[in-house]
């Protein structure tokens, strides 16, 4: 004999326990996309009150605060999210953005790295890592992550271009040239790729042994 509450044995009751939270969190995401940041903030706050142990609404609050340039609030929100769910890549991604906007590139680099370790497909973190590296002038670690990412996403022209830039800066001109050729195969009209390829080609020609250049 089942009670009325057990009849819908399709997990509806279990799913129903998070209805209110799901609605508020998704509504917050919608308003954030639509640029209605105050309403998004109100939804995320209500969701956080319903489920204080979940990271998602704090990440939403952090993103809203970041967009409103309230870096202190954003940092607190992302830190809270990271405490609630230590495996939350988004929380570390958010912290990285805060640190980057503050000019703390070393810390931003660490946070981007942590985010990438939790989510190797996170393109935002990858590009953030690239930007932080450019600011700090250290590229070796980034090249490794970009290469790992491209093994999984070989057709990502933006990442290929970043990698080409790093190769060029590190003097790995042939690698840079190959990357740029791949970028142009994907996006033939990409002007910055054409420009960089010309530059790489020039450097390549300058460093090539003369007897090779003059070979019949």
């Amino acid at each position: 004999m089942l009670s009325v509450h057990d009849i819908r044995a399709d997990g509806a009751v279990a799913r129903g326990r998070t209805h209110h939270f799901d609605v508020l969190d998704e509504l917050g995401n919608c308003y954030a996309v639509l640029g209605e940041l105050e309403r998004a903030e109100e939804c995320y706050t209500a969701a956080a009150l319903l489920e204080p142990n979940r990271a998602a609404p704090f990440i939403g609050l952090g993103v809203v605060a970041l967009q409103l340039d309230r870096l202190g609030e954003a940092e607190v929100a992302f830190e809270t999210a990271a405490r609630r769910e230590p495996d939350s890549a988004e929380a570390y991604g958010g912290l990285a953005m805060v640190r980057q906007q503050r000019g703390d590139y070393a810390s931003a680099f660490d946070m981007h790295l942590k985010c990438l370790q939790l989510d190797t497909d996170n393109l935002v973190a990858l590009l953030g890592l690239f930007q932080a590296s450019c600011q700090m002038g250290t590229f070796a670690k980034v090249i490794h992550y970009l290469e790992v990412y491209l093994q999984r996403h070989p057709g990502d022209a933006a990442v290929l271009f970043c990698l080409a830039t790093l190769y060029a800066r590190e003097g790995q001109l042939e690698d840079a040239r190959q990357c740029l050729l791949s970028v142009l195969a994907l996006e033939p009209e990409k002007p910055e790729a054409v420009q960089l390829l010309q530059e790489v080609q020039r450097q390549h020609d300058r460093t090539r042994p003369r007897n090779t250049v003059n070979a019949p």
């Binding site: 004999m1 089942l2 009670s3 009325v4 509450h5 009849i7 819908r8 399709d10 509806a12 009751v13 799913r15 129903g16 326990r17 998070t18 209805h19 209110h20 939270f21 799901d22 609605v23 508020l24 998704e26 509504l27 995401n29 919608c30 308003y31 996309v33 639509l34 009150l49 319903l50 204080p52």
Partner: protein
Amino acid sequence: MIDLREVRSAPRVTVVLTTWDTPGGRAALRSALRQTYSNLEIIVAGGGQGDAECAAGLADPRVRRLRRPAQGGEAASLNEALRRAEGRYVCYLDDRSQFYGDHVRVLVEALETGGDGEAAYSDFYCTLQGPAAERGRQVLGKVLLGGRDFDRFFLFHYHYVPRAALMHRRDLLERTGPYAEEPGDLLDWDMHRRMALFTDFVHVPRITGEISADDEPGAAAPPAVGAPAADERLEAALLAVRRRRPGKPWPKARDLAVVFAPSRAGADAAARIAEIHRWTYVPYRLYLAAAPDEARRLGAAGPELVHVPVEAGWPWDARVDKALRLGEADCVAVLPPDGDVDAAGIEACAYVLEHHAEPGQAVRLPSASGAWGAVFRTDELLRARRNHPALSLRRSVEAAGLATRSPRGDELPFDFDQALRDARAAEADGNFLRAARTYEALARKRGNTLWMKEAAACALYRDEQHDPQALEACQEVNRHRPTVSSLLLEARLCRRNDQVPRAARLLEQAREVLTGTADVKEPPC
């Protein structure tokens, strides 16, 4: 505002509210008072002073108050209120339920226009609550309760219509009898089973109220010392419910006679009787054709058991014939004297006989050992015995041209639920498309349309390859009966397809339902 024209022309409805002076009870009363239907009387069967204060404070001439009887529990309160009720129709509230504004109107319309149905039910939300961040309780979610079309056989097995969702003609109780004033938690199921003997229930697929789930941690008190364990209590209550048989005629259900004439009054026969009692949920009587000392040895008793005294040494056919003469049921299951029979299959075969068998057909009882037994229409079996008294029972059946056949899988009861289980298993295995196709087929062939369409939309959403079809199915559900889960699903589909403003509108609609502002208006007190 009371509409006097409606009061004069529309049938009166009695709302019976049983309450223990709780905030929930007062909210229930307010929900009754703000009905859009005017011709109401509200009988509050309350226990404490607070109820009286609330009722007096409301000063509404439609409200009458009764003190709950000291004995007999909730059933006694219901019966006392029903004795004083004057409405043509009756519906119910308690401390945990609330009506939306048009609940009474929707169900009255269904009963007044729904053919010969004397009972109707709508869909309700089950409100799931949890502790709030600061103090008190907060709504975590609202899931659909019921939502299933009327299925008498299913109702005989499962309590799936909440009392608050039901409205019935008051005079139906003259045939069912009152609520059973015995200990047990099954008084609603018991009453609904009895009602189903006399009427179909009209299902209105519309959400017209909500019931709070009792999900507070530790809310269930342990049984008192010396009291039977919960399982034993439940078993006893189940048996009591299944034994209750209001007077005939039962225009909507067939009575089943199970005839058992064991060749030996041993442990096997006693076990078979116990199995029949355990597995038979449709109304039935067991006719035990045995000599008095054999019956004593078997030790079987109970109101559903009829002892058919025979002489020791009578042949099996003669014993069965005597039982058949005593029986007054519409169909009869003749069990073999020895050998096994699947006890759960008896009522399933009776179901097949009623719903699928042609006249002149009987349904063979399933038996692993091949023992012969079958379910017959009583008049056809009696005719066979009258026309061929000299033959054995089995030969007389054959001589009379009665064909015994085995039931097919798709004829058995619960085949809808079996298909549902299969679809859910496919979903669990990640085969979302197959699950969706099963749900769609069920919606076409087996009713429960909105429920199945939402299930199909959900499976297609999870498949991630058929968003347009998922969206179409979901939109159709939401045009007819939007629920929190179906609105959430459509919003997720919209969001995935870059329709963010529409997703936001749908989520706002779901939020209104969850926060109670979609229907509930300001209370009058």
